[in-house]
C-alpha cells in the first residue's frame, strides 16, 4: 500500500509565497539602478520562485502553468544583450554607449528611460533560463 503523503500546508503556502518572491524579484530588477539588486539577483529570485513550484508540486505542473521553452527564452535574452549595443549605434552613439531620455507618460509623469534596462533585461532572461535549464535537466533522471 502506498504511503499517502499530505503536503497540504506546503502546497497552500507555496501559492502565497510564490507571488511574494516574484514581487521581490521584480523590485530587485527595477530598483537595480539606485539600490542593490539588478538583473542577476532578480533573475535568480524568479528562478527560485519557479523552483519552489517544482519542489512543492512537480515538473508537469510547472510545464502546464508556465508554458515557456526556456531554451528559446535564453535566445531572447541573448538577443536583448547583443542587440542593445547596435541600438545605441543606430542613434549615432558609440558601440555600447548608454543614453537616456525623459518621456511624459500619462500615469507616471516625467519618467527617465535608460537603455541599460534593456541590457539588464537580457541578463535577467539569461539567468532565469540557464538556472531552470540546469535544474530541469538534473531533475530528469527517469
Amino acid at each position: 500500500m502506498r504511503k499517502q503523503d499530505n503536503d497540504v500546508i506546503l502546497r497552500s503556502m507555496t501559492l502565497v509565497i510564490f507571488f511574494i518572491i516574484l514581487t521581490f524579484s521584480f523590485a530587485l530588477f527595477f530598483g537595480g539602478h539606485y539600490t542593490p539588486g539588478g538583473g542577476f539577483v532578480g533573475g535568480l529570485m524568479t528562478a527560485a520562485a519557479l523552483i519552489l513550484i517544482i519542489i512543492a508540486y512537480d515538473m508537469k505542473t510547472l510545464k502546464e502553468a508556465v508554458s515557456i521553452d526556456f531554451k528559446k527564452l535564453l535566445n531572447v535574452g541573448l538577443i536583448f544583450a547583443i542587440g542593445m549595443p547596435f541600438v545605441s549605434m543606430l542613434f549615432g552613439k558609440n558601440f555600447f554607449q548608454h543614453f537616456h531620455t525623459y518621456i511624459d507618460i500619462p500615469v507616471f509623469g516625467k519618467t527617465s528611460l535608460h537603455t541599460a534596462v534593456l541590457f539588464d533585461l537580457g541578463v535577467y532572461l539569461i539567468v532565469v533560463s540557464v538556472t531552470l535549464i540546469i535544474i530541469l535537466t538534473i531533475g530528469e533522471n527517469e
Binding site: R2, Q4, D5, L10, I17, I21, F24, L28, T35, P36, G37, V41, M45, A48, I51, L52, I54, I55, A56, Y57, D58, M59, K60, T61, I135, I138, G139, E140, E142
Partner: protein
C-alpha cells in the same frame, strides 16, 4: 549614534554570536540528519539577525535586501532537505499520489 545604543547593539551582537556557536555545535555533533537540517535553518535565521544588527551599526539601509534574500534561500533549502528526507527525491516528474490513483 549615542554610546548607549552602541553598547546595546554590540551586546546583542555578542549574544547572537554565542547562540550561533551553540547552533554550530548541534550542526557538528547532531546525532541524526534531521537535527542538522533544523540547525542549518536556525543558522540562517541568526545570520539574518546579525546582518540586521550590523546594518544598524554601519548606519546603512542597503543590507535590508540581503535579509529578505537569506530568508527566502533558507526556506527553499529547508523544504528541499525536508522533501529529500521524506521521499528520497526532490524533483518529481509527476505527482505520485494523484487523485485518479488509489
Amino acid at each position: 549614534m549615542t554610546m548607549f545604543i552602541k553598547i546595546i547593539l554590540l551586546t546583542s551582537l555578542i549574544i547572537v554570536c554565542i547562540s550561533m556557536i551553540g547552533i554550530i555545535y548541534r550542526l557538528i555533533v547532531g546525532p541524526t540528519v534531521h537535527d542538522r537540517v533544523v540547525g542549518l535553518d536556525a543558522l540562517g535565521i541568526t545570520l539574518m539577525a546579525i546582518i540586521a544588527l550590523i546594518s544598524m551599526v554601519l548606519d546603512t539601509k542597503y543590507f535590508l535586501v540581503v535579509i529578505l534574500l537569506i530568508g527566502i534561500l533558507a526556506f527553499i533549502g529547508t523544504i528541499s532537505f525536508a522533501k529529500f528526507l521524506e521521499k528520497g527525491v526532490i524533483i518529481e516528474h509527476e505527482r505520485s499520489n494523484s487523485e485518479h490513483r488509489d
